[in-house]
Structures are given as structure tokens and as C-alpha cells.
């Protein structure tokens, strides 16, 4: 475990109990009525889910930036999140939102479909440019189909449900979502972590990585599976939560020696921390209806992205 992992693990240990207490009603275990029940059935699963979702998104972002050798890469760009969203939207369109397992199942199928499409188009050659273009095309196809579903929603209720769901949130999530997402995300992070040394070799470009014995095609499959599991499972239980995969690796990089392999695990921890804190903040904010987590993180993420571009422009000029 490197220094960055220790720092973010420690911060996470501090933030976790605080987030259990934080909310519209601050929990005082001694005086709040039904404190134990609120904790066990509402706050705890929500906090655990925030950690699972954030961890998966952070690790996926770190691995994708390493693979594409580009600090502006976001796992959302590569079609898997839009694919999963399309699956979930399909469930909502047909009015299956009340069914406990159908929505996450269809979302996972959507993510799997996007992964299969990516692998079919780009998996044979293992080229980075082809993979990026294929991802963008899968993303825009899934996005277009989602927009089509919204415009042809059977009723206003379904439409509002879809739009709300697309702005991801962790509101009212239970242990069921934790049970669905955690094994998939854990497996995905393990695959991404395993790709670390190959990502290090890619620092010197694809020909050198291959000359060092890296099988770039196997690496691509590993990444598609890893990102598919982490991002697909996250979208399946929480909807679209953007910018985590983009921001987190940047926040973590200064604490590492910049090697991609050193970034995956601390990015998982920092992603967990970011989503946990952001979700606590949207609970505390004194608004009539709770601010959707996806919207809050985009409000945070877009200015960050602009700041990043400005900084890079100065560096390049």
C-alpha cells in the first residue's frame, strides 16, 4: 500500500462515521427515536453504497486515464455508463421500476452489451484509437436511444422517473443494492488493479509496451471487463454519477509518483471518499427536495474540468 492509499484510507475512516450521523436530521444515538433502525436500515447501506460506487468509479477513471495516456479521459466517455443507463431506462419505460431486481439487472445487461460491442469492434486489434472511437460511438448510440425512450415515454410519470433516475442518486437505497453492486465492483477493481504494471509499460507508448512483453490485446479485454463491472454496477444501483472518474485521479496523482499502477487503488479510496462526502452534503443542504447526487457532482465537476483545461493550456503555451 503506497502513501496515497494510506492517506485516503485514513480520511475515509474519519468520514465514514460522520456520514452516518449527517443528514436532514443529525443522528444522536442517545436521543433520536429509532436511532438504531435508522442507522442499520437507512444510513449504513447508503454510506456503504456510496463507498462501493465511488470506489468503482475512481478506480475505473484511474485505469482509463492510464490506458489512454490522457488525463482528460473519463470512463463515462466509453459507452459503458450510457449502455447501463439505457438498460435501466428500458426498465423504467416498461414500468418495472417497482420490481426490485429488474432495473439493476437490465442496467447490467446494458453495460454488458456495451462491453461486448466494444470488445467486438476494438478487441481484436487492441488499438487505442479504435477503442476510443468505438467507445464514443457506443456512448452516442446509447445516448440517442435513451433520448428516444424519453421522448416516447408512455406517460408523464415514466418520463419524470427516467429523467430523475438519469441524474444519479443514493436516496432510499437499501442493503439489496449493496448486495448487487459490491461483489461486481470488487471484482472489477481487482481486474483494474491487475492491469497496473501493463499500464506502467504503456507510459513509453504502445510499441515499447509490446516490446516489453505486454499483450496489449489481453490488457484491453482486462480493462473492458474491469470498467464494465465497476461502472456498470455503479450505474445499475445509483444511476449516472459523472465526473468522479475524471476528477479523482487528478486529486490523487500529486500524492503518487505519477505511475499509473500506483494510482488505481488510491483512486478507488479517494473516489469512495468523494462520493461519501458529496452524498452527506446533499443530505445536509437545506433544500425542499434533496439535491440529486449526480447533479451535485456535475456542478462540482464541470468547473474543475475547466480549471484543469486552463492549467493545461498554460502548461502548453
Amino acid at each position: 500500500m503506497n502513501r496515497a492509499s494510506l492517506i485516503f484510507a485514513a480520511l475515509l475512516l474519519v468520514a465514514f462515521p460522520l456520514s452516518l450521523l449527517a443528514g436532514r436530521v443529525w443522528l444522536d444515538p442517545a436521543t433520536t427515536p429509532n436511532a438504531a433502525l435508522i442507522l442499520a436500515e437507512l444510513r449504513l447501506p447508503r454510506a456503504v453504497l456510496a463507498i462501493v460506487v465511488g470506489g468503482g468509479l475512481g478506480a475505473a477513471g484511474a485505469a482509463m486515464q492510464g490506458y489512454l495516456r490522457n488525463p482528460l479521459a473519463d470512463p463515462g466517455l466509453f459507452g459503458i455508463a450510457p449502455g447501463a443507463a439505457l438498460g435501466a431506462v428500458t426498465a423504467l419505460w416498461f414500468g418495472y421500476s417497482a420490481s426490485a431486481w429488474l432495473l439493476p439487472l437490465l442496467a447490467l445487461l446494458g453495460a454488458g452489451g456495451a462491453m461486448a460491442l466494444l470488445a467486438a469492434i476494438a478487441g481484436r486489434t487492441g488499438g487505442i484509437a479504435l477503442f476510443t472511437l468505438a467507445g464514443l460511438m457506443v456512448a452516442s448510440l446509447a445516448g440517442a436511444l435513451t433520448a428516444l425512450a424519453i421522448s416516447m415515454a408512455p406517460n408523464a410519470f415514466a418520463m419524470s422517473e427516467i429523467v430523475l433516475w438519469l441524474n444519479g442518486a443514493l436516496t432510499d437505497r437499501s442493503w439489496r443494492e449493496v448486495a448487487i453492486a459490491s461483489p461486481l465492483v470488487a471484482l472489477g477493481i481487482a481486474l483494474l488493479w491487475r492491469s497496473g504494471h501493463a499500464l506502467d509499460a504503456l507510459t513509453l507508448g504502445e510499441p515499447v509496451a509490446r516490446s516489453l512483453g505486454i499483450d496489449t490485446r489481453a490488457l484491453l479485454w482486462l480493462l473492458i471487463a474491469g470498467v464494465g463491472l465497476t461502472v456498470g454496477a455503479s450505474v445499475a444501483v445509483a444511476g449516472i454519477i459523472g465526473f468522479v472518474g475524471l476528477i479523482v485521479p487528478h486529486l490523487v496523482r500529486p500524492f503518487t509518483d505519477n505511475r499509473p499502477s500506483q494510482l488505481v487503488l488510491p483512486s478507488a479510496l479517494a473516489g469512495a471518499l468523494l462520493v461519501l462526502v458529496a452524498d452527506s452534503i446533499v443530505r445536509i443542504l437545506p433544500l425542499v427536495t434533496e439535491l440529486r447526487l449526480g447533479i451535485a457532482l456535475s456542478l462540482l465537476g464541470a468547473p474543475f474540468f475547466l480549471w484543469l483545461l486552463l492549467r493545461m493550456r498554460r502548461g502548453l503555451a
Binding site: G205, P207, S211, L212
Partner: protein, 248 residues
């Protein structure tokens, strides 16, 4: 103990090119721009699948060799100096150990010393000058202790002192039995430092032999379409170019 290309044809870039390379020697690959030099060295490194023909290492088809086994035996340095992330120099050089899956510090330190960059080990890649970057990237190849070192234009970013130091180092490596294959633009370096020169022209082998034969003024005139003359001083040769007067 040989690396051999036989009748390689690759996508219009190489046509029926054959070359038998031996260890313990410095072989230079020369030719005008677009002649197929980089393609040939990439194919010899096992990074390009030929449309026809084979590359063999000690009579074993390179494409049948597992990637890591090939990587242990053949080190490859491309022409471009891409370093995507601002990582410490030592970590970059350590990447050379990847095929061995160890963190053996001795060959890494030896490579850093050999290229006169031990003092840069803790620096970040993006703080290096062009010449320092070139030496760091070659040190990465040396750290892997391969039998073969295949380098595409390794002298391009170096000043004259570091060019000669690097050539001396490669000579020392050849003396202890390594096979050195270099793409060189500077024909005088090829003439003075290589044991053998392969001249490519439009994807075909135009000449192959001792430097004095393969790089004769007549061959250069034919392949590069430039009139030249070699002048000799103390056993070293220098190239003097004479612009071609258009014939009327």
C-alpha cells in the same frame, strides 16, 4: 546465435527483404527517408506481423515465441521519445526489468551509470533535456540485459560527445557478445562504427556488407541520388557531399 529476416514483405513498406544478423557485431540499417528502416527494425523486434516471410531468433520463428521470452532477449528502442506521465527516471529505467518480473537493482544501476545519468535517477521525466531523455530511454533497454539491442535512431537527439560515448558503449556491449542493430541516418557514423551496413531503398535491400562496400560512393549516388565523396584521415572517414548539377 542469429536474428534473421527472410523474404519479409510488409504492406508495401518492405518487399522481399532478407538479412542475417549476428551477435557480437554492430549492424547499421541505412537508407533514405521512407526506405523501410523503421519497419525492418520493428519486424526484427517481433512487433510487426509480416504479410509474407519470417523473422527467426536462433532458428525459432519469432511469432511463435511467448511475448515475455522474446522481451527478455530482444530490447527495442523506438524513434519517438514518448513519456506519457511525469514519472521518476529510476522508475522509467526499471520498466526494462518487466520481462524478468524482478526489481533487480544491479542492472538498473549499471544502465544508469553506463549512460552517465546516475545523477538524474530521482529527477522527473519532464524535467529532462532532449539528450537526457534519449539516454534515459536507452538505459531502460540496457536494464533488461537483452541479447539483442535494436535501436531506431538512438543518436538523433544527442550532442556529438554523447553520440560518441553511446557508440563506445554499444561497441563494448557488442564485444561481450550482444547483437546491436541500429537505424542510422548519419552515414559517417555507420561507416566508422558499424561492422556491417544494410542499405534499404524503397523497401528493398539495396546493399548489404562491410561499411566500405555497402556505403560506397557509387551506392550512395544510386540510392540517395546525391553525389558524395569519402575522405579519410587517421583511419576515420568523413562524407563530403557534392550537390548534383542538373544535367542539361
Amino acid at each position: 546465435m542469429s536474428l534473421a529476416a527472410s523474404a519479409l514483405t510488409i504492406d508495401g513498406r518492405l518487399t522481399d527483404a532478407s538479412a542475417l544478423l549476428e551477435r557480437g557485431r554492430i549492424t547499421a540499417i541505412c537508407g533514405p527517408n521512407g526506405a523501410g528502416k523503421s519497419t525492418l527494425i520493428e519486424a526484427l523486434a517481433g512487433l510487426l506481423a509480416p504479410d509474407a516471410g519470417t523473422v527467426t531468433l536462433d532458428r525459432v520463428d519469432l511469432s511463435q515465441l511467448p511475448g515475455r521470452e522474446r522481451a527478455k532477449r530482444i530490447g527495442y528502442l523506438p524513434q519517438t521519445h514518448e513519456i506519457a506521465w511525469d514519472v521518476p527516471v529510476r522508475n522509467l529505467v526499471e520498466l526494462g526489468r518487466m520481462p524478468h518480473a524482478d526489481r533487480n537493482a544491479a542492472p538498473v544501476d549499471a544502465a544508469l551509470r553506463a549512460l552517465d545519468i546516475a545523477h538524474l535517477a530521482e529527477r522527473r521525466a519532464q524535467s529532462l533535456s532532449g539528450g537526457e531523455t534519449a539516454r534515459v530511454l536507452l538505459a531502460r533497454v540496457l536494464a533488461g540485459e537483452p541479447e539483442w539491442i535494436l535501436a531506431d535512431e538512438p543518436l538523433a537527439a544527442l550532442d556529438i560527445a554523447h553520440q560518441l560515448a553511446l557508440l563506445a558503449h554499444l561497441r563494448a556491449a557488442a564485444t561481450v557478445g550482444k547483437g546491436i542493430v541500429l537505424v542510422l541516418h548519419d552515414l559517417a557514423h555507420a561507416m566508422n562504427h558499424a561492422d556491417r551496413v544494410i542499405v534499404l531503398d524503397q523497401g528493398r535491400v539495396a546493399a548489404d556488407g562491410l561499411p566500405s562496400e555497402a556505403l560506397s560512393a557509387a551506392t550512395i549516388e544510386t540510392v540517395w541520388k546525391t553525389g558524395v565523396q569519402w575522405i579519410e584521415h587517421d583511419g576515420w572517414r568523413a562524407l563530403v557531399t557534392a550537390p548534383r548539377v542538373p544535367s542539361s
